[in-house]
């Protein structure tokens, strides 16, 4: 999953779109996935996610993201199969309704997560923060919290890697199945949490030392006017949500 949430430089029409419209589009795909009860529509949403990734020049990244989410989706699918008891039994503990619901749940999960991750990969967090403050009138503190949280994801992942490498260099064997990895990674949560809290604390001080509290709504350097791709994107948002509710 490393690097999947980080911004990818580019000059496609998706890169140039208004950050708020991109956020709206991602949220609408997400909402449509939750609203819809049709397997075909959920699969179509997944195709739209991939198409958006391709249009943004990050198709490879979208596929890797899909592969990562499929693993989590598979876990959801199996859990749902285990616990869903309504419908006609197909084999062992699996029922027809259980299989359908599990498939929908897994697809819904993937279709809802992908657009948000893709949006982050195609929008600079600085632009997203500034647009939220300038255009959507979100208080700067909240917008900054969002961007700081996004910014810290890769940092924490590299800290985690650092801690694991340090442990591996002292003989801990991280090779093996996922259960073994989880068992070995659990004790690392405390040092990782300590490092993270210290880093966040340092960042808060650094932000304050560069005038964090002076920031006003009009302070942003860039403006975010609506471009040619923004209106069709907004129309797509409305259409997706409507279709999601109908299906």
């Amino acid at each position: 999953m490393k690097g999947l949430l980080e911004y990818t430089e580019g000059n496609t029409f998706i890169h140039r779109m208004n950050p708020l419209v991109k956020l709206l589009l991602a949220l609408c795909v997400c909402a449509a996935a939750f609203a819809s009860d049709s397997l075909a529509f959920l699969a179509a949403l997944l195709a739209i996610d991939l198409a958006l990734g391709a249009a943004g020049g990050v198709f490879g990244k979208a596929l890797r993201l899909l592969a990562g989410l499929l693993k989590a989706g598979l876990l959801l699918f199996v859990l749902q199969l285990l616990f869903f008891r309504e419908g006609r039994p197909l084999f062992l503990f699996v029922t027809d309704e259980g299989a359908l619901t599990a498939a929908k749940l897994a697809l819904r999960f993937i279709a809802a997560c992908m657009p948000l991750a893709l949006m982050l990969g195609l929008t600079r967090t600085g632009d997203l923060t500034n647009a939220l403050v300038k255009t959507a009138h979100v208080p700067y503190k909240y917008a900054f919290t969002l961007s700081a949280a996004i910014r810290f994801i890769p940092l924490f992942m590299s800290e985690m890697e650092g801690v694991m490498e340090a442990q591996a260099s002292r003989g801990v064997d991280f090779d093996g199945g996922p259960l073994k990895k989880i068992r070995l990674a659990l004790p690392l949560c405390v040092p990782l949490l300590m490092i993270s809290v210290r880093k966040i604390d340092g960042s808060a001080v650094a932000a304050e030392a560069r005038g964090f509290n002076l920031r006003g709504r009009a302070s942003g350097y860039k403006d975010y006017p609506l471009g040619t791709a923004d209106l069709p994107a907004a129309a797509l948002c409305a259409a997706l949500v409507a279709l999601g509710i109908i299906t």
Binding site: E9, G202, V205, A209
Partner: protein
């Protein structure tokens, strides 16, 4: 410009004072290098100057620190940020934006500067620090040295009257370290910016700083013009601060009666002195 009087600070929960009875006056336009072994209190002293102590780190605080006549105890960190810019030791924690351009823009936007001014400063500082080519790069893809340059650029863009730097060349190679210190010296000379730099590389400080502050176990052992402080080379070595080799060379020449006590603090000076001795 910076006035420190009888400053003692004990971090909350600590038994030993991180700073004890430190007093120093740094004039406007001064370039002070702070050096000392690990745990000597260098970062704590810098944190007292930029107001992080007492506003962020709590503890027992005695004495006073005044920046431009204002006691840091009575000013908020925001007020102090308008006068003093800080480059922190932990650059990863300091860089809070996703790209280089956003990082430099961050402070400029916070300070509410006009757009034309922001654009001009952005271009200028990226060129000055030599990172114009990294402008659109994601910070997570930069090397330690590149990150350090970005951190310096982000603070320089704000054009503070006082620049406080905590080991600004810690992750830089020798050539880049010299480039950073040359830049600091130029800003100090041309714009009159007061510079206080905590640094472990004594050679850099000897060459570029005008005054040297040597700390040990929370105390200010020596403070004065670089040449005067370096005359105490034996005491400095006992503290754990090695003097530049050119200083050892000029002390040796003096001991042998070949020079009349001229202390060389740079390679160029030492070369000229050796030539003079050889030419008789």
């Amino acid at each position: 410009m910076i006035s420190v009087k009888d400053l003692t600070f004990v971090y909350e929960g600590a038994r030993k004072a991180a700073l004890s009875g430190v007093s120093m006056e740094i004039r406007q336009g001064g370039f002070v290098g702070v050096i000392g072994p690990s745990g000597a209190g260098k970062t704590t002293l810098l944190s007292c100057m930029n107001g992080i102590i007492p506003h962020h780190f709590k503890g027992d605080y005695y004495g006073s620190v005044k920046i431009c006549g204002k006691d840091t105890f009575d000013c908020s960190l925001t007020e102090l940020s308008l006068v003093a810019g800080t480059v922190f030791q932990d650059v990863d924690g300091m860089l809070i934006n996703a790209t280089v351009e956003d990082e430099v823009l961050y402070g400029l936007e916070n300070f509410g500067l006009p757009k034309a001014e922001i654009a001009a400063r952005l271009e200028e500082v990226l060129e000055e620090v030599g990172i114009a080519g990294l402008r659109r790069r994601s910070i997570s893809t930069l090397s330690g040295g590149q990150k350090q340059k970005v951190a310096i650029a982000a603070v320089l863009a704000l054009r503070p009257q006082i620049l406080l730097l905590d080991e600004p060349t810690g992750e830089l190679d020798p050539a880049s370290s010299r480039l950073v210190f040359s830049l600091l010296k130029r800003l100090n000379r041309e714009r009159g910016i007061t510079v206080v730099a905590v640094e472990q590389k004594i050679m850099l400080l000897s060459e570029f700083a005008s005054e040297l502050a040597v700390m040990s176990e929370g105390r200010l052992e020596f403070f004065g013009p670089v040449r005067e402080v370096l005359r105490h080379s034996e005491e400095l070595e006992k503290i754990g601060v090695n003097c530049p080799r050119v200083v050892a060379l000029s002390r040796e020449l003096e001991k042998r009666g070949l020079t009349a006590g001229t202390l060389c603090v740079s390679v160029d000076e030492a070369e000229a002195e050796v030539r003079r001795v050889l030419e008789g």
